[in-house]
């Protein structure tokens, strides 16, 4: 599948401070790519570099297959971007705010009312933006990005500071865009649970380095999970396992053998080993760490 965003061993520094380190991300067309990382991980820097707001050398960043350094304006013409808090001229109405971007993009006049409808702000369009609630401001910011019906949306923490209701609204809107228009969405967040609900792909960044990239399913797969085994031969089973690649197997309080495994294949290995050596298995279960825990583990390790 075609990659809409591609960074190829991207480095970026502010003076001597290195903020992005050998970052290679691929956002394929039609995906919703969740770009995850704790605050200060380099998410906004990456987004600014992709948009050409930060100057990078060479052709490490390609969008729609073209280098941002040689085709910036034609790339930006196909992108809608919301970088951190939305740009709103407080003294102007929501309508005028949209008109400014519409004129700069040279779009037809009806687009303004169309996007107002999409984000459900028709009623408040004539009010000055300074009277808007946080959620309305964020929706207006999103409307700005939708004016040009972009093929690619780049959203930097679009639900920051929103209440649960506002978060749900934005989430549903994004899912609708993807479904109805096939919009590719690159969305950053520091909250995994938010991304989990909409993303098809995930990239996890910490301290400027990419720690994981893949589908949401793949992320769940790599997760360490814990296996519990019920048996009448606790001692024998435990020694067997410890000798055969599971040195950390242990007895837990509820008299089960407990150990961490890396993937599902290992469950197969464990059962074969035990059965082969005549350790009866009365029960085997595995508990998965939830994604939240996984995300914390991944970003902590680094």
């Amino acid at each position: 599948m075609e990659n809409y965003i591609e960074t190829n061993h991207l480095d970026f520094s502010f003076g001597k401070l290195k903020v992005l380190n050998d970052l290679s991300i691929n956002v394929s067309a039609g995906s919703i790519y969740g770009f995850l990382g704790p605050n200060g991980a380099g998410k906004s820097t990456t987004i600014r570099a992709i948009l050409g707001l930060y100057k990078t050398n060479g052709n490490h960043i390609r969008v729609f297959g073209e280098s941002i350094n040689t085709n910036r304006l034609s790339i930006l013409n196909r992108i809608g971007a919301l970088v951190e808090s939305p740009t709103l001229y407080d003294h102007l109405s929501g309508y005028d705010n949209l008109e400014i971007t519409r004129k700069l993009r040279n779009l037809s006049k009806n687009r303004t009312s169309e996007v107002l409808k999409i984000v459900n702000l028709q009623q408040d369009a004539k009010r000055p933006a300074k009277q808007y609630s946080m959620g309305m401001k964020q929706r207006l910011g999103l409307a700005l990005t939708l004016l040009s019906e972009p093929e690619l949306l780049i959203l930097d923490e679009p639900t920051n500071g929103l209440d649960p209701h506002g978060i749900i609204e934005i989430r549903e809107l994004l899912l609708r865009l993807k479904k109805e228009r096939g919009t590719t969405i690159f969305i950053s967040s520091h909250i995994l649970s938010e991304i989990e609900r909409i993303a098809s792909h995930v990239g996890i960044i910490n301290k400027g380095s990419l720690l994981f990239q893949g589908t949401l399913l793949e992320l769940r797969e790599i997760g360490v999970s814990t296996v519990y085994i019920e048996t009448s031969e606790l001692e024998k089973g435990l020694k067997l396992l410890q000798k055969n690649n599971f040195p950390l197997a242990k007895l837990n309080k509820s008299n089960m053998i407990e150990m961490d495994i890396e993937n599902k294949e290992e469950i197969n290995k464990i059962t074969r080993l035990l059965v082969k050596n005549d350790v009866p298995i009365f029960g085997i279960s595995n508990s998965k760490k939830d994604l939240e825990q996984l995300f914390l583990d991944i970003t902590k390790e680094n």
Binding site: F14, R48, L51, G52, L53, Y54, K55, L73, S74, L76, N77, I79, A81, V83, E84, S85, P86, T87, L88, Y89, D90, H91, L92, D96, E99, I100, T101, K103, L104, R105, N106, L144
Partner: protein, 258 residues
């Protein structure tokens, strides 16, 4: 091509929209109005200052107002307008949005300079209109002032065009400062310091080197009835403003936008 006429036109229009209801637009109207009003009050309450036979009362009415305007009000107005035109983006976190649109940085920068220059030009037109109206009003209210057949409309207009050209250097300097600094104190501070410092240095033999003195120096032809444009101060302003404009453009094109 980084600067297309259509996008530039659109961009200038959006800058006009952004200035709706801002202090900048009021400043361009109120600054000349204030100076002309005070000037009017002075000559209305002291008509004897104008009552001499054989001297053109317009020379005093216009000259006095132009002096105050060019020495103090105009540089301060330029400082304010350049600050507001850029602060509208600083305040709204607008730069990152503007520069992530398919519009070149050159276009955005140029249209903002154009709107700043246009507001200064507008203030000078308003100034001319007010000056001429205030003189007419004086002649009606104080028939003892000898307006006779004297008229100076052309001279006033030509002088203010010269003042406009001579103010381009201050405009580009204040613009360069304001686009690069969010800080109110930096841009306004430098403008106020430049203006007041200059007013104290006017008698200095090299005062024609100070950018903030150029509008006043360009206006002095009014007294000598010398209306030629080919003066050192105007050349200095034109060439200087091209240099500063280009430097500002270079900076903004290569800047990392937060």
């Amino acid at each position: 091509m980084t600067l297309s006429i259509i996008t530039l036109k659109n961009s200038v229009f959006t800058e006009i929209t952004k200035q709706k209801k801002t202090l900048a637009l009021w400043g361009t109207i109120l600054a000349p109005l204030f100076v002309v009003f005070v000037n009017f009050v002075i000559f209305f309450s002291h008509p004897e200052l104008l009552a001499k036979q054989d001297t053109n009362p317009w020379l005093k009415i216009a000259g006095n107002a132009i002096n105050i305007y060019t020495i103090l009000m105009l540089p301060l107005l330029i400082t304010l307008v350049a600050f507001i035109v850029n602060n509208v983006e600083h305040k709204a976190n607008g730069w990152k949005h503007l520069f992530a649109l398919p519009v070149s940085r050159t276009t955005v920068y140029t249209s903002k300079v154009i709107i700043t220059v246009a507001m200064v030009f507008l203030s000078l037109i308003i100034f001319d209109v007010f000056i001429i109206l205030s003189g007419k009003l004086l002649s009606v209210l104080n028939p003892e002032i000898n307006f006779g057949n004297f008229a100076m409309n052309n001279e006033i207009i030509i002088t203010s065009i010269k003042v406009f050209l001579a103010s381009l250097l201050i405009i580009t300097i204040q613009f360069l400062i304001s686009i690069n600094s969010k800080n109110f104190l930096v841009s306004i501070g430098i403008g106020v310091a430049g203006t007041i410092g200059t007013s104290m240095l006017l008698s200095w033999q090299h005062s024609d080197l100070i950018p903030y003195a150029l509008p006043m120096l360009a206006s002095q032809g009014l007294y000598k009835m010398d209306l030629s444009f080919f003066k050192g101060v105007i050349f200095y302003s034109l060439i200087g403003s091209i240099v500063v404009f280009t430097a500002g453009l270079f900076l903004i094109r290569n800047k990392n936008i937060n």
